[in-house]
């Protein structure tokens, strides 16, 4: 009875659309949005001006707004929120949206739109935003009726965070933001068609446990799905790995879901993964993939991928299963619930564990580990990039401060993944799927907004950082003390590495000509600029960077010709890794089939 009265008053109590949008955001627990104003969203900016509950961070480019929201989302587990205007505001956001789609990051992006009566008329700053973003989002909406407004905003949050998370666009015509609209509470809305399966099928869990118990050479391969399932899922992963005594490897997206310092951790797998992780994947007899998607950076040549193993694949997205690799035991469900069920079943199932055989398996793994595939020699004055990351890791660890790392894309990203150890989930933000140069600085910005007292470091390359360098202005405006740690080798290093390996060392357009002076650049953006050109300066620069209370750009001038190893060349199998520069020349020449791969 009272509910009925409440809902009838709700429909009569109408407020301008912009206020309804903000009220819905508040009800969804939003405390910050990243955005950039423009004509079509002025009503929302006016409503923002008249309230204090939601903070707005003014970015310098809409792409950065989305990456910042991604950083915020990945470090908090909450939905990141973006507000941009119509036309160029929306099109600039597209790269960020696809990035969030590929990496399954929950983001709601509100875009302005020309008024409904002008849609389709090629009005000023009109773009077909829902058309353009349809394949760039998990779902999108164009609100054409005021009565749908509140429901659509609530639904957008539900869709963004449920199941396999992703970005959702809500396109808001200006007249809808001005006209009075009714408010509807989130609890009054149930989604009509989207109800992802969370609980795994117990029969599949049992099948998986029996396979794993009988396995002589098992491996657990965990990805970003474990991180997306929340910190409890990572705790359960560690519990399961310890309970079973099995080796565990992480994808790039999964780093931090299992502690890097744990003796059962084999490091990252894949194209630039460790020797031990990749050989264990190649030689295992049972593989448990949890929350990863057999990406081509992981599998290498598909027909030679882990050829003799039974594969168990647990994923919340049924379309990820059997997409690239045929598996024997598919499990659809949330990674946390799946791990909890696996632990429960492992404890109860009477199947004996193939323990002695597993000891032999660990012996092989230890032999592979003894290769020390990540070893490098730091000699003389030239700073090795690996050494720079390793020192950064050791020195930040010594501070005892909570540390979040983001990266741009390229060699520095792989070195960061290899040499910076993550013991906790949600502390590592990198563009894995899309590989978006320019991701790291805005992402670090979003993390810093969510964690004002933490140490937020963007490990960058000198080429990537220039793709969203304008965000230094945002750091200054909001006093966000993000540290930008540039491994400056004056090359688009990964491009140069591929040209060296695959294109006869013809370094076509990969030299970073006419670089800015990053120290002066920092100064121009009201930040501190530091530079290390020799190995003996490195620690001092890192120390000064960490101690400085404001934003810093540290220009670390590293060896120009260093390549990222180990490497599985494109089109090769896990057991055909190139371990280092000495092997590079003798490496099996890449086949024509391999050449076409990216």
């Amino acid at each position: 009875m009272s509910a009925a009265i409440a809902s009838s008053t709700a429909t009569t109590d109408q407020r301008p659309g912009a206020e309804v949008v903000l009220r819905a955001l508040k009800e969804q627990g939003v405390d910050v949005i990243f955005g950039y104003p423009g004509g079509a969203v002025l009503p929302i900016y006016d409503a923002l001006f008249q309230q204090n509950a939601i903070r707005h961070i003014l970015v310098r480019h809409e792409q950065a707004a989305v990456h910042a929201a991604e950083g915020y989302a990945r470090s908090t587990g909450k939905v990141g929120v973006v507000l941009v205007t119509s036309g160029p505001g929306a099109t600039n956001a597209v790269t960020g949206l696809v990035d969030a789609l590929m990496d399954s990051i929950p983001v709601v992006c509100l875009t302005g739109q020309v008024p409904t009566h002008l849609i389709g008329n090629d009005a000023f700053q009109e773009a077909d935003t829902t058309g353009i973003t349809r394949p760039a989002t998990k779902h999108n909406y164009l609100v054409k009726r005021s009565e749908d407004l509140a429901r659509v905003v609530h639904e957008a949050f539900y869709v963004a965070r449920s199941g396999r998370p992703g970005p959702v666009v809500v396109d808001l015509p200006k007249d809808i933001l001005i006209k009075p609209a009714p408010y509807v509470e989130a609890s009054k809305i149930g989604h009509r068609s989207y109800r992802p399966v969370m609980a795994p099928d117990p029969a599949r869990i049992q099948e998986a446990v029996r396979l794993l118990k009988r396995s002589e050479r098992p491996i657990i391969y965990a990805g970003g799905g474990v991180i997306n399932a929340g910190p409890e899922a990572s705790r359960l992963l560690a519990e399961f790995v310890h309970l079973t005594g099995m080796p565990c490897t992480n994808t790039l997206m999964g780093l931090g879901s299992f502690p890097a310092s744990d003796p059962q951790f084999l490091g990252m797998l894949g194209m630039h993964g460790t020797y031990e992780a990749n050989l264990a994947m190649y030689g295992c007899d049972v593989m448990l993939n949890i929350g990863a998607r057999f990406d081509d950076r992981i599998t290498g040549r598909l027909d030679a991928f882990s050829p003799n193993s039974k594969k168990i694949h647990a994923d919340i997205d049924p379309s990820s299963i059997n997409k690239n690799v045929q598996v024997d035991v598919p499990i659809v469900g949330d990674a946390g619930q799946t791990l909890a069920a696996l632990i429960e079943c492992w404890k109860q199932d009477p199947t004996p564990v193939a323990k002695p055989a597993q000891l032999d398996w660990w012996k092989s793994i230890d032999e592979w580990r003894a290769k020390k595939c990540l070893a490098y020699v730091q000699q003389g004055p030239i700073i090795k990039p690996q050494h720079a990351v390793k020192r950064l890791f050791e020195m930040t660890k010594a501070t005892g401060r909570e540390t979040f790392i983001s990266t741009e894309v390229g060699q520095h990203q792989m070195w960061a993944a290899q040499y910076f150890g993550f013991d906790k989930p949600n502390h590592w933000m990198t563009s894995g799927g899309l590989g978006t140069m320019g991701y790291g600085l805005p992402a670090a910005m979003g993390v810093q907004v969510a964690h004002p007292d933490a140490l937020c470091i963007d490990i960058a390359g000198e080429a990537s950082i220039l793709m969203n360098i304008q965000e230094m202005g945002t750091l200054a405006q909001y006093r966000l003390p993000v540290k930008v740690f540039i491994l400056n080798n004056e090359y688009m290093g990964m491009v140069r590495q591929w040209q060296e390996l695959l294109h006869g060392s013809r370094y076509s357009e990969s030299y970073s000509e006419a670089l800015p002076d990053f120290v002066k650049l920092a100064d121009a953006f009201h930040a501190k600029g530091l530079r290390a050109t020799t190995a003996d300066q490195l620690d001092d620069v890192i120390r000064e960077m960490l101690a400085h209370p404001g934003p810093v750009i540290a220009d670390i001038c590293v060896a120009k010709d260093e390549n990222c190893f180990p490497m599985i060349p494109s089109g090769a199998a896990h057991n055909e890794m190139i371990m280092g520069p000495d092997q590079e020349k003798n490496a099996r020449s890449v086949t024509d089939e391999g050449m076409v791969l990216v």
């Binding site: 058309g131 779902h139 164009l142 054409k144 869709v159 009509r192 068609s193 989207y194 059997n322």
Partner: protein
């Protein structure tokens, strides 16, 4: 993935009848490089705002399983049903076929139409429009016969399909 494993699948998809849903489905097929042989769509339940899409596609089992999973993953999709796997099912399409001619050709066209149970829905002294329903082969066969008799224009709806028996789809 050898071609020998390629099969044709008739897939029924029950969706929210909302703006852009057809673009979403078509975009999924083009974006991921799947084939669409036939695609039909129409609202089937105005009250519940549901539409039904019938897609006929070809691919290996792995690809067809992917297509179904990808369709099911679209937020406004309620149900995806592979009729080819679900068991016996009916497939029908409707065609309107215009034949222009005189004399014996007209008589022959009319005789064949009768044999195929095609109805005359428009006639002038020089033309007929035939309406026929059936599966694709029947319509193909009729059109082939009309070709020498003055076939001028063909319009087909594409297939709609439903399972035989009590098996049914609901949101």
């Amino acid at each position: 993935m050898s071609d020998s494993n390629v099969r044709t699948a008739t897939i029924a998809v029950l969706v929210e009848n909302e703006a852009g849903i057809l673009a979403r489905v078509v975009g999924l097929f083009s974006g991921r490089g799947y084939n669409i042989e036939i695609l039909t769509v129409a609202p089937v339940d105005e009250e519940k705002r549901l539409s039904r899409i019938t897609v006929v596609t070809t691919g290996t089992d792995m690809v067809i399983e992917q297509i179904k999973a990808q369709l099911d993953r679209l937020v406004p999709v309620h149900r995806v049903n592979d009729l080819s796997l679900a068991g016996p099912h009916l497939v029908r399409e409707l065609a309107l076929i215009k034949v222009i001619g005189q004399g014996d050709h007209r008589v022959e066209a009319l005789r064949l139409a009768d044999a195929f149970r095609a109805r005359v829905v428009d006639a002038t002294t020089e033309s007929f429009v035939f309406e026929m329903t059936g599966d694709a082969e029947k319509i193909d066969a009729f059109c082939a016969l009309m070709r020498p008799l003055g076939l001028a224009e063909i319009c087909r709806t594409g297939a709609v399909a439903i399972a035989r028996g009590t098996l049914h789809m609901a949101a």
